[in-house]
């Protein structure tokens, strides 16, 4: 029932052979599934926009399972270069050998390439995806003098967290407008309760109280909290509670501590938690 996978051992896969085997739980809020499917069949790339812990990655996994495509995820960061995405020559045993990067492998295998937090990467890296995201759907590999035509099944998905951002780190219009954009946010109360129940295994009453905590903490956004409490943190709290941890304590480590280092803010949040849970 829960989406936490229980694995006894570690297994390694080639990235383009990594398929999502079981359906990852995802509770649809609007019509995001049909939009994804429609975009995919029209060979359009997709942008997922929303705060952390709002279900973006889980959604992509779910779609990967539904469409039976390999899922290749790249966590973007400031030092990510275009070679990290496309590939490079490596020295192996006295010879140079070309090694495909994750983006190339996704294109070649016709899977989903998911660039997570793309705004963290440098602009000269981001433009690499431009030819893939318009009608051409081409991936040029300059160092090899090749160009790869993407198969129909390939789709590029990026995620983006707007908000109190650096003005230097933003998505240019020329990049943004190439994508169909799905907006994610904290789900409405009943839906969030459902999700917390399912993912953490606790009862509905407790889940409602956790969701109430989440709501109240989200009121503090812009009063000093950069982000409100994510659904994910509520789920973590629920999981800890299910394992026998006292609710106040579970919430402290899953919600209060991660969300802020400001001692006064922590005390205020913990006060809300103490009001909700005896």
């Amino acid at each position: 029932m829960q989406s936490v996978k229980y694995r006894k051992e570690a297994t390694s896969w080639k990235i383009e052979e990594y398929f999502v085997k079981e359906e990852p739980y995802y509770r649809e809020v609007g019509n995001e599934r049909s939009i994804f499917e429609a975009a995919h069949s029209n060979r359009l790339p997709i942008m997922l926009k929303g705060p952390t812990g709002s279900g973006k990655t889980r959604f992509v996994e779910n779609m990967a399972w539904r469409l039976k495509l390999p899922l290749i995820t790249v966590a973007c960061h400031e030092d990510l270069t275009s070679s990290d995405l496309i590939g490079r020559y490596l020295l192996e045993g006295g010879e140079t050998k070309w090694s495909d990067g994750p983006l190339t492998r996704a294109v070649k295998s016709g899977g989903i390439c998911y660039l997570d937090e793309i705004v963290e990467a440098r602009k000269d890296t981001t433009v690499v995806i431009h030819p893939l995201t318009d009608h051409r759907r081409l991936l040029p590999i300059d160092k090899r003098g090749e160009v790869i035509e993407a198969p129909d099944k390939f789709i590029l998905v990026i995620s983006y967290n707007p908000g109190y951002q650096s003005i230097l780190k933003n998505l240019k219009q020329s990049t943004r407008q190439r994508f169909v954009c799905l907006e994610f946010d904290y789900p409405p109360r009943e839906v969030e309760v459902e999700i917390v129940v399912h993912e953490s295994g606790i009862g509905e009453d407790l889940a409602e109280e956790l969701v109430k905590v989440g709501e109240k903490v989200r009121n503090l956004k812009a009063k000093g909290l950069e982000e409100g409490a994510s659904t994910r943190s509520l789920i973590y709290a629920g999981q800890l509670i299910r394992s026998g941890i006292e609710p106040r304590s579970a919430c402290k480590v899953a919600i209060t501590n991660p969300i802020t280092d400001d001692a006064e803010m922590q005390k205020a949040i913990q006060s809300v938690i103490e009001a909700v849970f005896p």
């Binding site: 270069t81 490079r88 812009a222 006064e264 103490e274 849970f277």
Partner: protein, 789 residues
Amino acid sequence: MISEAYRKRMKKITDLPSEIIDNVVSELFSNKFTDDQRNDLLNTAIVLVNRSATSQLLQSSLTILRYFPEALDTWCNVGKEIALTSIVAAEEYFRSSPDVLQEIRKEELGSWASLGIRIAEKSDEAAVEYFKASAKLLKTLALSDLIRWGNEGLRILQDGAKSEKAAIEYFALGTRRSFEHAIAGEMALLEENIRILKLYGEAISGREVNIQPVVDYFGTDGRAIYMPVSLNIYGEKETNFRLYRALTARLVGRMIYGSFDLDLSKVGFDIKEVAARYGSKLKSGIRSTEAFFQLYPNPLLAMRIFEILEDARVERMLRKEYRGIGEDMDLFLNAFVRKKGLDEMTQIQAILQVLLETLLFGKMPDEIPSQVKNYVQECLPICQAAGDRVEDTALATDRIYRILEQIPGSRHDLPHLPKEMQEFAGLMMGKIGIAWRPSILSVERMGNMHEGRRRAVTTLLRKLVGTARKIQTTNLLNPRGLKPIEPKEREEAVFRYDEWDCDIGDYRRRWCSVRETTIRPGSARFAENVLKVHSALIAAVRREFQMFKPERLKKERKQTDGDDFDIDAAIESFLEVRAGTPEIGGRVYTRRNKIQRDISAAFLVDMSGSTAGWIMDTQKKALIVMCEALEAIGDRYAIYGFSGATREGVEFHIVKDFEEKYGQTVKGRIGSMESISQNRDGAAIRHAAHKLERSESKTKLLVVISDGRPLDMVPGPGEPLYQGQYSVQDTRMALKEVKAKGIRPFCITVDRKASDYISTMYAEVNYVIIDDVSKLPEKMPAIYRRLTT
């Protein structure tokens, strides 16, 4: 003994200068003192034997003789007793006791000193420090707190081998622990917790919460909540904090559950019938609790009943919604203290008191006079049957009023209301016309505050409130309070801008005139002072910003990828391959971190009258710190201020333009920035954008620093006043226009009242509210750094 002989004897036993001795003698021989007393003093002096102690005794005696003559006997006896154990301690006692006597009564001298004697039994030096520190501490502590502090030090002293040194340091207030322990004990201070309580209130209510300190009651008027400056009911600081938390929830609860949103049309309340019953004037409808109370012949009685019921309702709703809040609420209940006996109250007062207690504790108190009991039993079912809305409370109030009005004296018998509350009542209800004044129940509830603390705090509070009031009243509604707009050096061009009128849904074309002027620079002293006082902060900020300066970024070698070849690494790798030991592998590139900075930032500062005083000062300080940071990182920046009155007179002050260097002139200008007249934000923002868009940087940032509402209350004939929704919407529009020009706006507001208009005005842009103005100098660079790196 006659004075001459006295003087001679004194001269023999001490080295004090003649002048002092003369003064002592003349004071002694004025008619205030008996011969016995004079002899007593002399004997005390002689008995001390030690010359230094004797001199100190006589020197201090002057103050005692002059200002505390009735304490003379006690003072001498206590001194003698101390001297039996330790002469040096006695000397210090004599020296510090005049100051101490200003804070304590002469009867308390004994207990203060006897603790000192017990300390002296273990350590002379520690006792000396104890006496010395007492004078300072008693200014803010009550004696009982001081004794507690002293006992803690005594405990350290008795602790073991190395303890004497630790104890001496403790008493000398050398250790932090001693200081904190002395100053606050287990008391919780509102000031230390106000931010936490505010955030808590905002989290549970979802709206802005404004907390104001008062001396010894608590309540709310629907806009702010008022709580006591300190709470010391429980023996632990954390518990006292939780009591604050309980108060916060109870008061904020009134806003959450609609205590101030009375709308009697929602229930079947026949207002006309009530009005007819009492012959009261009926205004168009009852939309406020104030109007509701005015229906009754004794509005205060109605208000008191309403408040008791409403308090119970809010608590009930809170406990229902928050399963865990019961603990805090119980702390509140346990702090309840009935300050007057039931037999000291009038009948109505007693009934109300018992009703209150019954609703609070869930059962009737013991030993109630039977008449009172009967009435309460009649009222109880009504209370218990009341529904969950505030309108239900009004209904129940009406029914209970009808029961109680049968009691003789009910028309005139005001509920028990302490004098200061009566004044407050008049102020709140009359002038501002808001719902109802703070809960008067509270005065009875708070346990005893330590007298000394109370005094100190009251003085402090009066000062603070006085300052705050002063600032609020130099407000813009009175044009005579404005400074005249003085001509500045070098007046420049005038620019015209549109203004958005939300009522007509369109722009008023070329409505505002913005006059650009340059501030006449004063001396650079202000700036230099800031640099000195905040040197640590500035040094830290400079270091941090320098790290982001592009030239400081290094070239990295041996990279797997990069702009250019690292020839050395390439050669090495070839050699390695030949030798069969490939280590470098493919890492043969160099890379330079290509973070380019091409930023122009304009800072726009509100210079209107509302910033007068410490807000403006703090803004100026923050600007100096910001300049230092910007110089370190090398971005292009400009600083502008705005003020003015009327749409023709918007003033745009240039403190530093983009091309200007940050030198003595600019520092001088920052120093001379003053608060003048009003603020028409929209026009100023548009002009700042106009200046920014001419820069050629890739990234343009406009930081607006304001302290509150856009307000220009000096009207032209027939024109809309720049206030309320009008000004908020125009400012919002101006910010939108700025964004459309490719400039990124960011708003920093230091509005301590934190009102709802902020989220409307800044709906399109990013903003931050800084509660504590004094933090502006450290927060501004941090914000800038976050925005631009």
